[in-house]
Subunit: 307 residues, 4 copies
Amino acid sequence: MKRLDETARGVFTIAVTPFKPDGALDLHSIDQMVDYYAEKGATGLTILGIMGEAGKLSADESRSVIRRVVARSDLPVIVGVSAPGLAAIRSLADTALEIGAVGVMVAPPWTLRTDTQILGYYRDVSETLGDIPFVLQDFPLVTNVVISAETILKIVADCPNCVMLKHEDWPGLDKITTLRAASDAGARRISILCGNGGQFLPEELRRGADGAMTGFAYPEMMARVVAAHDAGDVDHAQEVFDAYLPVVRYESQPGLGLAVRKYILARRGAIAHDTVRKPGKPLSENTIRDLEFLVTRLEKRLATVHS
Amino acid sequence: MKRLDETARGVFTIAVTPFKPDGALDLHSIDQMVDYYAEKGATGLTILGIMGEAGKLSADESRSVIRRVVARSDLPVIVGVSAPGLAAIRSLADTALEIGAVGVMVAPPWTLRTDTQILGYYRDVSETLGDIPFVLQDFPLVTNVVISAETILKIVADCPNCVMLKHEDWPGLDKITTLRAASDAGARRISILCGNGGQFLPEELRRGADGAMTGFAYPEMMARVVAAHDAGDVDHAQEVFDAYLPVVRYESQPGLGLAVRKYILARRGAIAHDTVRKPGKPLSENTIRDLEFLVTRLEKRLATVHS
Amino acid sequence: MKRLDETARGVFTIAVTPFKPDGALDLHSIDQMVDYYAEKGATGLTILGIMGEAGKLSADESRSVIRRVVARSDLPVIVGVSAPGLAAIRSLADTALEIGAVGVMVAPPWTLRTDTQILGYYRDVSETLGDIPFVLQDFPLVTNVVISAETILKIVADCPNCVMLKHEDWPGLDKITTLRAASDAGARRISILCGNGGQFLPEELRRGADGAMTGFAYPEMMARVVAAHDAGDVDHAQEVFDAYLPVVRYESQPGLGLAVRKYILARRGAIAHDTVRKPGKPLSENTIRDLEFLVTRLEKRLATVHS
Amino acid sequence: MKRLDETARGVFTIAVTPFKPDGALDLHSIDQMVDYYAEKGATGLTILGIMGEAGKLSADESRSVIRRVVARSDLPVIVGVSAPGLAAIRSLADTALEIGAVGVMVAPPWTLRTDTQILGYYRDVSETLGDIPFVLQDFPLVTNVVISAETILKIVADCPNCVMLKHEDWPGLDKITTLRAASDAGARRISILCGNGGQFLPEELRRGADGAMTGFAYPEMMARVVAAHDAGDVDHAQEVFDAYLPVVRYESQPGLGLAVRKYILARRGAIAHDTVRKPGKPLSENTIRDLEFLVTRLEKRLATVHS
């Protein structure tokens, strides 16, 4: 498959990693899940990211996940390879590409502070990866690293293998506008796919994003919003979005969100179990009650949204 | 007016501080705004909090704001008195109570880390305030201080003048459940009013919160949701909430949210100008376009929500 | 007295704020302390900084401290005016200058992250202060704000009233070298005085610093090290420094250090009491034992250092 | 070799990981270095910690380092196994013990905040490790996790395989006193070895620590200080310490310290090259000049310290 490049668009779904109730990898569910994401409109998959519980897997397990996903999927696969050191990033990236991934994603280590430090880090990453294309993950709420638009532009200028931004700064809309103004004025235009659970997807598209890269449990929301936007029907894009928003909001709770997502995915049959690996916790009874209430309302409301 | 106590309920609106285009205090707008909040269903007001730009006022300005609000309002007024030291907290609190406020609110300094440090701080605050009732503000996203449910319960046990929790931890629903289970089991039951822009209000009420303390630019949303909840109509509570949610979400963007809020308040005539004091920035053109789109949709949608 | 400018050199002592055992301001001790600092070789005083417990004073108390120090001192006085908002900074600075201070010091608010944010903040400060000269305090360990050398140079370029850097980044020696290389190459050369309890004073001077701005309880150490350095006797500078280093190190413990400093100052008769205001804590018995051991050794060792 | 237990004492040296100038592992230097540490008085070795650049090694390299050190050393070896997830910790620990290590060390992930979160994390670690003994690393300056003495005592109570504290909180002396008071009063007494580059070693021993676990480039300093302390000669302990303190201080600069340490180790012949792996940087010329000045002074001064 062709390597990832700046033209990527649409919906790259952030895939969960399915586990059995005892915490073991559930490889069979990976097949189900890959099919589910494709049916719901994904144009790509991103695995082993923060929401893929990458940090909780052994090296062997990571390889198994990559192999199974790539074997099952007709879609391009990006692999998260964030690690404390460059040697580990390189070796994870090599493994991923050998198995068939089209690119990798790198979030910054939490200790980076100044623009100079951040730029220096991504220059090192870029050099380490060589010709492997990578996605820059900009997610300050979780990484603790605040990256200014100026710094992103410097990374894009200095690192030819940085082909995509996973945008999830918050607030981040004016940042997209700034980045697009820069590429309109001559900077290299990279792909911008937006995360943050999809909470600002209609606005992000209007600011110039190329789609979504997030794992909201109803990937068809992102696909429909992107399609409506591309068709120029911003009202319909917003109407679809609004229907899902109460659940989007609930799933976007930091930390808790992954268990919410897996609960819905399991409920919809995309994976067999909603297990989150330790130290993740199962949902409380009250949270499940909240979710059932919201999901039932969503189903009713969707009946009223024209398709 | 009776001092604040553990029985407070309903909607305490977080009031903005209105400025003129040149940055000067706009005292005339305070009158308008106080009337607006009351008409829209507020049962109390909280002034000079984080969203009241308290940190940007001189001591004289703060006094002017308190005086003007208290003079105009028939509702109980809580005053934010967070400050780097206990002496300043005491002197601000004395001023507030002398003018006619019913209680004060204290957020923790950003340097606190361990449970012991947090408990120690609030013990000092409690002793410093003496018989002045205070609200504990639990807002980790902004204060950088994470307070466990256990620690809140210790503060409640040790500090008799802590009568209310401004709950805005995120995620925070199970925390409310834990606190209410503790008061059901014999701990002193304090008032819990919820902030966070109202993003989880229906769920918070179902977990046992007593209402909202937030400044969403449409206070009638909180009033209607609380009323529907109190009447036992959770579906209607959610229906009202869902209508406003796209705007709630947009206003909840950290940092940017205050300017969004003031823009809508000015648009609705609650204040004369949407000025945010420096180093706050005015909204970008694109953000205003986003808002106009959302507000227009909200107005249409409200027409379909029965009242 | 002439306003502070880029030519300032020598030892600006960070003054403590003396309290009585009950926590009240001890104005009489201020006189003693001012005399003590002058006798021990200070060429200037900096008051109401972090180690001056500025945050714990009411506005009236702050004014009293400034008045008393300025009235007693023949040395130039800098006043710390860090505050959450620009209005408060302006009003504190006006007060300070009216009473007779020569300049003010501003540390950044803890929330600043990117270079752009930091530069933007100091531009606002600069504009707010107008013709009042200010010291930029660069102390990441305490402020949580990491300022790159590039950003300092931009602040110097954009803010003509920024006349001094209080340097206490850690590690920070190569930063001084970078700043001095820039001024050698044509950037405006501002004064660099070093803090951090004096822990790297000999090296800082060799890198191009103009002296010390710190409150180590033996100000004569800084004065002697600077004098030896200026006389070109780096070995003697280091010899003096080494003698005091065990105590410098002990006093440099974050948080605890202020109580250590006040204990020694009281022991030496510079202030009447070693009281630290709440929530500061008195020293433990074991800490006092450590200190007595170190101070006794220091006295013996000083006898062997030629003067 | 007997597994690590609560009776460990003396000097566990934090070993560096030697690299060749091109960044490749330098296995030959490992032999030299192990011999050097033993000759200089180490009673144990700790490898693959923060200062062992563990995060920069691939999994294969980590195994090579453990094998080479264990094969060469007659001393007990502890292996750092901190990782983002429990699965990785378990698999690293199994590998280490199989090769012949006597225990492992675990630092907390930077995201932990409340006492409950920290205790929960170490309970999970303890359960995951089963009968493998572990060292709790308490190093807030680097890990961002502040652990109160109360929380340490709860971990000790709940986790029988927690046999040692690597103490490097700062300030931390009263914490040792608190922990020792608790074990005197009946809590399980674990070993406390102190890090922080040795900056407070004499005081830490007087408070009840059992020795040092740090990698200061002159391990004989720690050995001599501990021996003098054990012999009851606190003055001599301090005299030895004071001689090395100017270098201890210089090596303790965060981030920079590792390159300083490697420079001195290479200078003393303990390793062949002072290479720090990327993104680590080589020392500046000025820093090398500082070091040469300090090392030369140290050598002269040691001649005057009786042995």
